[in-house]
């Protein structure tokens, strides 16, 4: 479609013909041309106003529902993002008031029944990676502690899943197996650390500079793992 009729009524000659036939001379007021020698305003004054919005009580309710939904999804495991957490040992005032339900977000929390999904999606899916600011020594020192916590965590999760979902029954077998595998993995602390390091390097490149990442930290991120949960604990 030709642009709006500002400026000369140029365009294919067809339009010219039509305009002339219809008695609208190009350059007349029907195809408005600014007689002043300046470019037409970017946002010309409105000819008519929009009709007022009318929603009423029903509308308010709908909007509240929408806010609820979006809020829920935001906090749910389904909201996937590149996660960045400060890993120094400073306790933050803000940590206390962050949403305490932000616990382990893993794909397993999203997926209800793996048998409904192609197997390729299941293999090697790690829980959401947390980028750490590495300090080599602290890293190593942490790992044994992590393993302990991981085992505890795993038990908790297993328990939760059992009571929560019947569906897991089918895949339960596979999952406990998986859990055992992961346990083995974690006991191999060094290789784990290396793995984590490598991936961290990659993610660092993905996520941009530290400055930006830090800036986005405070609003939405996971809690500092020292105080509360262990995000790195794999679930299966």
């Amino acid at each position: 479609m030709a642009g709006r009729g500002r400026g000369r009524g140029g365009g294919p000659s067809f339009n010219r013909e039509i305009s002339e036939r219809m008695g609208i001379a190009p350059g007349s007021s029907e195809t408005p041309v600014e007689s002043v020698l300046e470019p037409p305003p970017l946002f010309p004054p409105l000819e008519s106003r929009p009709v007022p919005l009318e929603l009423g009580v029903e509308g308010e309710y709908l909007l509240a529902l929408k806010r609820d939904f979006v809020g829920y999804f935001h906090d749910s495991p389904s909201f996937i993002q590149n996660v960045v957490v400060k890993s120094d040992n400073i306790q933050r005032y803000s940590d206390r008031y962050q949403n305490a339900t932000l616990s382990l977000k893993t794909v397993a929390d999203i997926v209800r029944d793996w048998s409904h999904f192609p197997t390729e999606l299941r293999d090697n899916v790690k829980p959401q990676k947390i980028k750490r600011k590495l300090k080599g020594s602290t890293r190593r020192a942490k790992i044994p502690k992590k393993t302990e916590d991981i085992t505890n965590r795993l038990e908790e999760l297993e328990k939760r899943e059992e009571e929560g979902s019947d569906a897991e029954g089918e895949t339960e077998g596979k999952e406990t197996e998986g859990a055992k595998d992961e346990n083995k993995e974690n006991k191999d602390a060094d290789s784990d650390a290396e793995e984590v390091e490598e991936e961290d390097v990659d993610e660092e490149m993905d996520d941009g500079t530290d400055y930006i990442n830090n800036y986005f930290d405070n609003g939405e991120e996971y809690l500092d793992e020292e105080d509360d949960n262990l995000e790195d604990g794999p679930v299966y």
């Binding site: 479609m1 030709a2 013909e17 039509i18 002339e20 036939r21 219809m22 008695g23 609208i24 029907e30 008519s48 929009p50 009709v51 919005l53 929603l55 029903e58 509308g59 309710y61 709908l62 909007l63 529902l65 929408k66 939904f69 979006v70 829920y72 999804f73 935001h74 389904s78 909201f79 996937i80 993002q81 590149n82 803000s94 008031y97 794909v107 999203i110 997926v111 209800r112 048998s115 409904h116 999904f117 192609p118 197997t119 390729e120 999606l121 090697n124 899916v125 959401q128 990676k129 059992e162 009571e163 929560g164 979902s165 019947d166 569906a167 029954g169 089918e170 990659d202 405070n218 609003g219």
Partner: protein, 520 residues
Amino acid sequence: MSVLLGKVCSLILEEHFGEIVSKVGTDLFQWGPKPLALVASSTKLSIDKVKQSLCVLLQYGLATFAPGKSGRVAEYTIQTEKIFSLLRYPRYLYLIKSKFGVEAETLVEEFLRVGFDSASRLIVKAATRLQESQKGSDNASAYLSTLRDKFVSLVNKQFLMRCPSPTPVDEEKGEKPTGIPNLTVSKTQLHLPPTLNMKALTQLLEGEVADAGDEGVYWRVNFDRFHQDFRDQIMVAAIARRIDDNASEIFQLLLQLMYIRTDPWVRVSNPIPYSELRDTLRKKDPQSPILPHLDQYLKIIEEDSSGFITRVGDSGGGQFCINMHKSFEALTWTCIENIIVERFGSKAARIFRLVKDRRFIEQEKIQQIAMIPAREAKQLTYRLMHENFLQLQELRKTMATNAGPNKTFFLFHIDLEEVARMILDLSYKALYNAMNRRDFETNENRRLIEKKNRIHSIALSLQAQGAPAEQLQEIEEMMAPPEVDLFNKVMRRVQKLSEAELHLEETIFLMQLFLSYNMQ
């Protein structure tokens, strides 16, 4: 598929599930069905992230998978309609609430939140939530049986439907597992409610392990069924506006009777006899003031230019058909005309209706019949054509192939489908703009919003602990009055934009519905 629809869907995904899921979804939208590896390479995301995103998309039914050509690699297809339906979740819930009550609403909300899940699990979840929100003296188990009943009702009425299950690999037949499950569901299973063990449900509620009897059986929301009701609501409201409330009540009954004998999405219903309508009304309300005038109302509805129903026979006191396609054609015309009135003025709308009535008409006739001064008429006609509301057809007066403007008829006409598509695109764009702007407003004032949220949650927790008023006051004062003002302003803007989005979704629904009937 419309490019604009794709853009809107990207925003919807981003709003609900974040940027990464949105990237994956957009990639699938732009390139069509693809396997996992290709998505990863073109989005440049890590394989893990892509897997997670696909899991999310599949869980919520926003994408599906199928074996690709080779049969061994799964290809993922994005379901744009389902993504768009995310915008309608509040409407779905409101419908359930009005029709079935708050327990059913909570239950459906659980389904929407999770995508698909087993009945027992979600009933238990809903019971817990209801207990928390109602803060009644009943414990949660009191809700269980109501929820179970509501669940069965929802399944019977087809608001919920059974998810397809994987067919087991028959190793005896030599089938090998491909890693790509083949999901099927039979028609009978689709709306067959499960029998749930109530005792087990109570146990689950307590946190114990129990088998409620529906292992491996999953349910999800049937969006089409909701859309059916939305469609009916539009028609009923239109009749109420055009005629009166009694007529719309009658029309509602007609719709009810239509479903007994006709598939809900056909263009024209099977005939409904007058006698049946009368009996139904009588049963519903024997004292109804409509009864003595029932046949009159039917006549009026039938004769109205909107053409919602037609009388097709005389047996049984008259047989009536509902014209779905025609109704939505009339509604689409009205919608377009109303847009023209606001955008170009009432004289332009008059011209449009005139061209619609005459089908093909010359400029001169337009001026004459519409009683608009020649110059203004030409201006408006040209403008409507320029914006693609009117189309131009040339007919040569002579046999010569190069007849000039003096030897050709220029006839205006309207291609309704083309105009409807244009309006749909306009609406997508307006929706995109509103969402974009809302995002912008939120981001610009992000720190402020976060601060307010923090203060709010602190205040709430302090209140729960029974803190004294002075402490609460202190917390409130953490935000200075001008900040509070700005916050309120921003909230008002966001609110307004959200309202606009709701309205736009309604227009989009209407246009999509019409176009789908047209393409049937």
